[in-house]
């Protein structure tokens, strides 16, 4: 009788019950070819384990140990939310962003409502936040790095799909940090976070971008952050592709 490879593999992997094991062992005893096939499977298993074993004794990089020790920060302290998952640029972080969104959406909505910033800076359209008013004008015309302005632009970059995005911080009692991307002649705000909230366990410098936003940028940007000249050119060209 012929013994299928998958049965021999299951034997080598320890997945068979006693009667099936006995059956394979009888076949091995009766037929050297079957025994050889089993040996080959065992050899492959050993070879794979031997090749990947040394990795276990490599020192673990400090950044991973740090990630392990870090408080579950992106959700609790940064109050990051992703307003709407991007359909054509979905960050690899989108899954936990969605989780973060579900946890802090309430916080953010309260924040926006109580400080009436929403009407001043953004409007909702089809479930997306769109920059308005002073935020929209700053995004369109203000160079990155200007400090004494209600809206601070941090830097600009291009995504893999060729859109321009800019990171910004709105300076006010409860500072907001976010990201705006040029789409269809408007600045859509895919990510927004409350920073420098004094009710938190510690106060984060309002000028810093929350780590989740920084990570999003790292995963989505194509090439380097725009230089002053490149940014100036894009600004003059109206941020078209």
């Amino acid at each position: 009788m012929t013994i299928p490879d998958e049965l021999l593999m299951a034997y080598v992997d320890g997945e068979l019950d006693a009667p099936q094991r006995a059956e394979v062992e009888r076949a091995m005893a009766a037929d050297p070819q079957v025994a050889l096939r089993v040996q080959r499977q065992q050899a492959l298993r050993r070879q794979l384990q031997g090749a990947f074993e040394p990795m276990l004794s490599e020192p673990v990089p400090e950044r991973l140990l740090a990630a392990l020790r870090a408080p579950a920060k992106p959700v609790t302290n940064d109050n990051v939310t992703q307003i709407k998952p991007r359909t054509h640029i979905t960050s690899s972080l989108s899954q936990w962003m969605a989780l973060a969104a579900s946890l802090v959406a309430g916080v953010l909505i309260t924040l926006l409502a109580t400080h009436s910033t929403r009407d001043d800076w953004m409007t909702t359209h089809n479930g997306s936040l769109i920059a308005r008013g002073a935020l929209a004008s700053a995004l369109a015309s203000q160079p990155s790095g200007v400090i004494n302005a209600p809206v601070q632009l941090k830097f600009s970059f291009k995504t893999h799909t060729g859109e321009y995005c800019r990171s910004f911080v709105i300076r006010q009692q409860h500072a907001l940090a976010g990201l705006a991307c040029r789409e269809g002649g408007e600045w859509r705000v895919p990510m927004l976070a409350a920073v420098g909230n004094e009710t938190g366990q510690y106060r984060q410098a309002a000028s810093e971008l929350p780590s989740a936003i920084a990570q999003w940028i790292d995963s989505e940007r194509a090439g380097d952050v725009l230089t002053t000249e490149e940014e100036h050119a894009a600004l003059r060209a109206g941020w078209g592709r």
């Binding site: 990630a67 579950a72 989780l99 194509a222």
Partner: protein, 168 residues
């Protein structure tokens, strides 16, 4: 909750070398693999409440790493970039001892396997998960897992056949 979080942190610390190894089998490049592990750690700590303490933490982490990797592959496909297997040539190098060549050739062979076969081989043959556990990590029926495993093994045998044949 915070007590559970501390337990998870402690166990994750012990699992780190294996998590890195699994991620390396998926991502193939060390830096990419560590990015994956870092992301998975952050996700795990954020979602600690979703872990059932009765279940295996390693399986749970492997699922998170695998999902993060699938997200990454999709993102790469969308931006049209592809990981070139030949990039591995620079990792393999030329001036290595015979033993290292053997080790590298196994890893190179692994790197050439299709994604799903590589994951199945890594979970069962390297990480030692049962078929049932590995199928759960990959969210597929056991039959799908075993057929991926079988095809992966056949492909590896074919690529490594000289070494496998002479080993015994």
């Amino acid at each position: 909750m915070s007590e559970l979080l501390e337990i998870i942190r402690e166990q994750l610390g012990e699992l780190l070398p294996r998590l890195r190894r699994f991620a390396r089998a998926l991502a193939r490049h060390e830096a990419d693999a560590d990015d994956l592990v870092q992301l998975a750690l952050e996700r795990a700590l954020t979602r600690a409440a979703q872990w059932d303490p009765q279940s295996r933490l390693d399986s749970w982490m492997f699922s998170i790493i695998r999902n993060a990797w699938i997200d990454e592959i999709r993102a790469r496909r969308r931006r049209g970039s592809q990981v070139d297997v030949d990039e591995l040539a620079e990792v393999v190098g030329t001036d290595v001892t015979g033993e290292q060549i053997d080790v590298m050739s196994v890893q190179t062979a692994m790197a050439r396997l299709p994604e799903e076969q590589r994951t199945a081989v890594s979970l069962v043959l390297i990480e030692g998960l049962s078929y049932k556990e590995a199928a759960a990590v990959m969210s597929v029926p056991i039959g799908t897992l075993t057929s991926r495993l079988a095809r992966g093994r056949e492909a590896l045998q074919a690529m490594l056949s000289p070494a496998t044949d002479t080993e015994r």
